[in-house]
Structure formats: structure tokens, C-alpha cells
């Protein structure tokens, strides 16, 4: 009996040593890198260049619109470059013109006509309504608007049309999930 006890103790010690050495009795496992890459969010940007006012009565741009005085029968056109930046595979956006802050002291003789936004080499985006919008893609656009001073009336000398609050707005379109 003593011999059996001693034998068992020795065997236990052997097993313990084997387990301490590791490896031989461990369960299998393997490792592999998923390589899912790095995710980055896109971006949406809108910048504008300095706009230029021109008159149908002159071939030269108007240096300072605040010093200029419009007369009946005259048309002024405002032209400006817009840079639309859309970084995102599923990113789509619309461009609009917010004219809600316009203050017009003229009596229907001078109004801000519809904005036109066009892009060379692509389908033109026309914001035809006063506060309309149009789909745009990444790239450079040309925005223009016209003021026509009605020549049929004598009113409105010295009146002002405040366009300082006119703003271009780029809105992301809600993505449509795939079916």
C-alpha cells in the first residue's frame, strides 16, 4: 500500500511537471489578422470666391458695389465661383440659396432674379426658384444672379436692396439604404 501511495504521488508530480511545461496538453488555437482596414469619415465643404458685379452698361466689373448707384433700365449681374467638396462614397448633396434675409426698399422695380448655378462639363444645376435648390456633385460651380431695374417708373431714387445676408447652403441628402 505504501508503495502504491508513493507511486501515485510520483505520477501526480510528473503530470504536474508536464502541465507546467505547457504546450503538449493545451487545446488547439490559431490566430489570423482580420485586416479590416481603417475607417474614415467623409467631409463636405463649400467655399466661395470673391464675387464680381457687372453692369450691362459697361464692359468693366464694378469695383465696389456699395459705391455704385444703379439707374432705371440697368441690369446688374453678380457672378461667383463656388467650390463644392464632397468626400464620401455615398455622399450626395443639394445646393440652395437662402435669400430669406434680403431687405428690399424698392417698390417692385428692382428684384433679385433667379440664381443660376452651372458646372462646366456636367449637367447644369439650375436653382430656378427664388429659394430653390439643385443637386450638385463635387467640383467648381459658377453662380450668377441678375438684378433688373425696371425702366417704366420714376420711383425708387436712392432706395436700397440689401443682399448682405444671401447665403449658399450645401445640404447632405439622406442616404437610401439598399434593399
Amino acid at each position: 500500500m505504501k508503495k502504491m501511495t508513493k507511486g501515485a504521488i510520483v505520477t501526480g508530480l510528473g503530470v504536474a511537471l508536464l502541465l507546467g511545461g505547457g504546450g503538449t496538453l493545451a487545446v488547439w488555437n490559431v490566430e489570423q489578422t482580420a485586416n479590416a482596414g481603417t475607417m474614415a469619415a467623409g467631409s463636405m465643404e463649400l467655399t466661395s470666391s470673391t464675387g464680381v458685379w457687372t453692369s450691362n452698361l459697361s464692359n468693366n466689373p464694378i469695383p465696389d458695389i456699395t459705391e455704385y448707384r444703379i439707374v432705371p433700365g440697368e441690369e446688374l449681374t453678380y457672378t461667383q465661383q463656388l467650390e463644392v467638396g464632397l468626400e464620401g462614397d455615398q455622399l450626395e448633396a443639394t445646393l440652395s440659396v437662402d435669400t430669406s434675409g434680403v431687405t428690399n426698399g424698392f417698390s417692385n422695380n428692382l428684384t433679385l432674379e433667379d440664381f443660376m448655378v452651372t458646372k462646366a462639363g456636367a449637367a447644369d444645376a439650375a436653382i430656378t426658384a427664388y429659394n430653390g435648390s439643385a443637386d450638385v456633385e463635387k467640383g467648381t460651380y459658377t453662380a450668377s444672379a441678375t438684378l433688373a431695374f425696371n425702366a417704366d417708373h420714376q420711383e425708387d431714387m436712392n432706395q436700397e436692396l440689401d443682399l448682405t445676408q444671401v447665403t449658399y447652403v450645401l445640404d447632405q441628402k439622406a442616404p437610401t439604404p439598399a434593399n
Binding site: 456699395t66 431714387m157 448682405t164
Partner: protein, 186 residues
């Protein structure tokens, strides 16, 4: 018991985060950016026309014009003249020209004979190069001139009496009125 407490805590934290996001706004919205057009303010010009240095007003105001040679007496042999200047003083930003036209003169006098004799004998013309109104060419047609922005046109008014005017008119006086019309022509 401990797990229940942890779950409750996690739930409260989650609700707080959601409430916080909703309260701040924006985080859940679609992107949008805006840029000002910087169009400035457009102002209409002042249609300012000056008649002998005084501003004319729309449907206007009379300006008194002196004789070219004050004190000169009007006789059948000696007409008298007045000079009218019209300046286009508009502050238009671009090209802006006007046409200023002398209308048909009318004469008024307390002496009806003088007024009758002046009728048809008050004529207007553009001032000649000599700047002497006696040298101008007068016709029955009203004088007219195109005036560029900032420029001035000068007109002569000739008042005369026919040779057969009765001598008894002396020393009657008359007032001659001439409507001046300025029209934008661009």
C-alpha cells in the same frame, strides 16, 4: 444582486447619453454647410438735375433766371436774353445721359398788350460757341441737348417785341415761364 446593480447603472448611463445627444442636436442630423455670398447692398442713383445751380425736382420747382445783362430794357429794337444752364448731376454708377428740352415759353404781364406782343417772340436756342446769346440761331422749335453725366448744357432765351409794338407799353413788366424737361436716355 451585484449584476443587477451593474445592469441598472449601465441602463441609466445609456439613457443619459442618448438624452444628451438629442439635447445637443446636430450629432444625429445630416451634414450641412453654408457660406455667405457677400453680395453687398445695391443702391439706386439720385436723379439730380440742376437748373442754374438749383436742384430740379420731379414735376418740379421753379427757378428764377436772371437776364444776361440785368437792367436791359426790352424794346422793339433791343431784345433781351437770359441764360439757362442745366447740369446732369446724377450720381449714377454707370453711363447716364439725359436729354434736357426747353418747352414752349409763356409770357404773363399785368399789361395784356405786352403779353400779347411777347407771344411768339420768346425763343430758345443752344448757346453758341461765342457764349453770346445774341449770336445764337433761334427757331420756333424748342431747344434741346443731350447731357452726359457730370456735364452741363447752356441755353439762351431771346425775348423780343415786334416792330409795331405800341409805345404806350412803357414801363410794363412781364414774366416769362419756360418749362424745362430732363429725361433719362442712357
Amino acid at each position: 444582486m451585484r449584476i443587477k446593480t451593474m445592469m441598472r447603472t449601465a441602463g441609466v448611463i445609456s439613457l443619459a447619453v442618448v438624452a444628451g445627444l438629442l439635447g445637443v442636436g446636430g450629432t444625429w442630423a445630416l451634414w450641412n454647410v453654408a457660406v455667405p455670398a457677400e453680395m453687398g447692398t445695391v443702391q439706386a442713383a439720385d436723379f439730380r438735375v440742376e437748373l442754374n445751380g438749383s436742384p430740379m425736382t420731379v414735376n418740379g420747382m421753379a427757378a428764377t433766371v436772371a437776364l444776361e445783362k440785368p437792367g436791359t430794357a426790352l424794346t422793339p429794337k433791343t431784345p433781351v436774353y437770359s441764360i439757362i444752364t442745366v447740369k446732369n448731376a446724377a450720381n449714377a454708377g454707370g453711363r447716364f445721359s439725359i436729354r434736357a428740352t426747353m418747352g414752349t415759353p409763356t409770357a404773363q404781364s399785368s399789361d395784356p398788350i405786352l403779353a400779347a406782343n411777347l407771344k411768339g417772340h420768346v425763343l430758345t436756342a443752344q448757346m453758341p460757341g461765342s457764349t453770346t446769346c445774341a449770336d445764337a440761331t433761334y427757331t420756333a422749335q424748342p431747344a434741346t441737348a443731350t447731357i452726359a453725366k457730370g456735364a452741363t448744357a447752356r441755353y439762351c432765351v431771346k425775348m423780343s417785341l415786334p416792330a409795331d409794338t405800341p409805345a404806350m407799353l412803357t414801363p410794363s413788366t412781364a414774366t416769362v415761364t419756360i418749362p424745362v424737361t430732363a429725361t433719362q436716355i442712357q
